[in-house]
Amino acid sequence: MTTKTMIKQTISVAAVKAISDRYDEPEWLRQARLAAWENFVAMPWPTYKEETWRRTRLTGFHLEDFELPQTEVATFDDRQHLPEDLREALDKIDSAGALILQDGQVVYYEFDDSLARKGVIFTDIRSAIRTHEELIKVHLAALTPADENKFAALHYALWINGAFLFMPKHLTVDKPFQVLVLQSAGVANFHHTLLVGEENSEAVIVEDFIGSRQGMSDSVSEVFTKQAARMHYLRLQNLDESAWNFSTQRASAGRDALYRQLQASWGSKLSKVWIDLELEEPGGHGELLGLYFPQDHQHIDHHTNQNHRVPRCTSDLLFKGALDDHARSVYQGLIRVWPGAQKTDAYQKNDNLILSDHARADSIPGLEIEADDVRCTHGATSAKVPEEYIFYLMARGLSRRTAVRMIVQGFFEEVLNRVPVPGVRDKLEAEIAHRVGIE
């Protein structure tokens, strides 16, 4: 028994107001929260009659089961004093800045001064509201609105903090920015990611989602890739396998801009992830990569949208998943070419490798094309590990297990090859090896 007399804060309109009060938020933000709450209340819970929810059920999910974050967290000024696992996580990547958040509180923050002098802003959103309110006001919810879906609405009503990166014009930062998003057990967490790449800037950001045992993660991300900018966003979802995970992500690409994203969905009991790419100006290019490897009874659902609104844009999507035990995956994707978006070149591919008789992968690629001079290709595959591959490797002395591991790693190689940060690639490889099982 603890002697704490904390009142369990549950999800309600009172909680929405309490957050605004606690952080003494500007009026526009308070109003946005309340409007989002109204949206949330007004929107019905998903049913399988909606196309996006046909294959993913929320059986057993109850909002009342989760608390809002309350506890104060320990903070650290020095990387050396961080708990070992966090320090190791940061040390794996040579970064230009690092931010660790726990349930929305800043645990640790470091950032290269020389970059700040060049105009780069890298901080938590809460701090940025104090220092750069206008920038936040202009960009927050500008890409992913609160009425996007019920979970986005809930997010905008209850979010506490997140990561903010602003890249000024004509600046390239080679080293990645790193964010660790830690979530306590039983808590509902609403991490927001806001990345702004101004004209001709380039940045890499790596975000790791960790924890959330018996909890819920309801995140939203918005990435603005303005004219000729190059933004690389790597999202590693390593949540506990008892967590519910909802994520609404959207990125825009301006004229001749390049947006690249990797979504690695390892953890969670159930994940429903929407990823939208908005090609808004001619010459934009978007690349969406995805990895997943559910096991036991994990359920991983990705719903992607490649939105070609204007001519001469290209997009390239590759999602690869291996499934073991009783796991289930859903991939639903749409390439949408709007009227007049001529010379669109869009590609979409989803491959699944099935490792167990009880696992199942559903793949529903789709095209909706309203222009005539376009090239759009899509495809989906689902296959078991070929016995001929296993025999070939075993005939060279590999055990069955090692053979399967090599084949699975080889299957993911096509995506791993395209991961721009070596430290991230190593982490992904290690996670895959761990999931296949090392002898």
């Binding site: 070929p386 016995e387 001929e388 591959y389 025999f391 070939y392 490797l393 075993m394 005939a395 060279r396 002395g397 590999l398 055990s399 069955r400 090692t402 090599m406 084949i407 790693q409 080889g410 299957f411 993911f412 190689e413 096509e414 290690a430 090896a433 090392i438 002898e439």
Partner: protein
């Protein structure tokens, strides 16, 4: 000790159809035993059964390695004993590089893995991932040296296993694997087919080097051509799931001259001779 692989009255079936109908054959370390036979006679089946392909069912007979049956061993256990099969049609495995795969295979066959596992069991302590592998530097050097010695382009190391390889490249890749794994007995299933003369020389040269190092080879071939480069100690003729004739190099010459048609015509004589002898 010189390793010996003996196939004794081997009957085997695939999908319920008997393909091998009583094969008798001996392969000794340091010797080349050529096995010649027409298409569809069951040569590849023999290779698969020796390597332990799970799809094939042994109905009768035995396969002995140094006097002990290997029929109950899995393919990897057979590989660890020193048995190697160079595939007629090597499969392409996307994303798995030659270097990574060979490092794992070499580590397994040379006992690195087993030693680490024993050590972990004995001490109760975990070893870090990768410690079950031959050290990277040592492996790389050996791989580069082997590629040079066997005329395999160094770019192979980074390429994916047989993925997008030409027929000739696949066969060179099999020789490279064999050279790295250093088996005692290798079954080479049509390692000569589909090769131009230069590639054939490279493959034959590789086999000769390994035989000189002490490897025994069962050289399965459809044509006499490779025997101009690799001198067999014994030649067996394979027909309809059986060895119908075994002799010295002169058997290959006779076959070249008279063709498989002659074998078919004289099948009964050959079989009765075998029984008589």
């Amino acid at each position: 000790m010189t390793a010996v692989l003996e196939v004794k009255d081997l009957h085997a079936a695939v999908d319920g159809k008997e393909i091998l109908k009583g094969v008798n054959l001996t392969i000794r370390q340091g010797e080349v035993h050529a096995l010649m036979g027409p298409n569809g006679s069951g040569k590849s089946t023999l290779g698969y059964v020796i390597a332990g392909h799970p799809h094939y069912e042994v109905l009768e007979g035995d396969i002995l390695f140094n006097g002990e049956s290997i029929l109950d061993l899995s393919p990897d256990e057979r590989a660890k004993l020193g048995i190697f099969l160079a595939f007629q049609y090597p499969v392409a495995i996307p994303g798995v590089s030659f270097a990574n795969f060979l490092r794992a295979a070499v580590s397994s066959v040379r006992g690195y893995r087993d030693r680490i596992r024993e050590e972990m069991e004995r001490t109760g302590q975990f070893k870090e991932v990768g410690s079950e592998l031959i050290p990277m530097r040592e492996f790389r050097k050996e791989l580069m040296d082997t590629m040079d010695r066997f005329n395999v382009d160094r770019s192979f190391a980074r390429r994916y296993l047989n993925d997008g390889f030409s027929g000739g490249e696949k066969k060179r890749g099999e020789v490279l694997q064999m050279a790295m794994l250093k088996p005692k007995i290798a079954i080479l299933d049509e390692s000569d087919s589909g090769l131009d003369i230069d590639a054939l020389r490279v493959v034959a040269d590789g086999i000769n080097k390994l035989v000189a190092d002490g490897m025994g080879a069962l050289l399965i071939t459809h044509y006499q051509r490779i025997l101009n480069y690799v001198k067999p100690d014994q030649v067996s003729v394979f027909y309809n799931g059986q060895v119908v004739l075994t002799g010295g190099p002169e058997v290959a010459e006779m076959l070249e001259e008279k063709g498989y048609g002659w074998i078919e015509e004289h099948l009964e004589e050959l079989q009765s001779e075998k029984i008589a002898s």
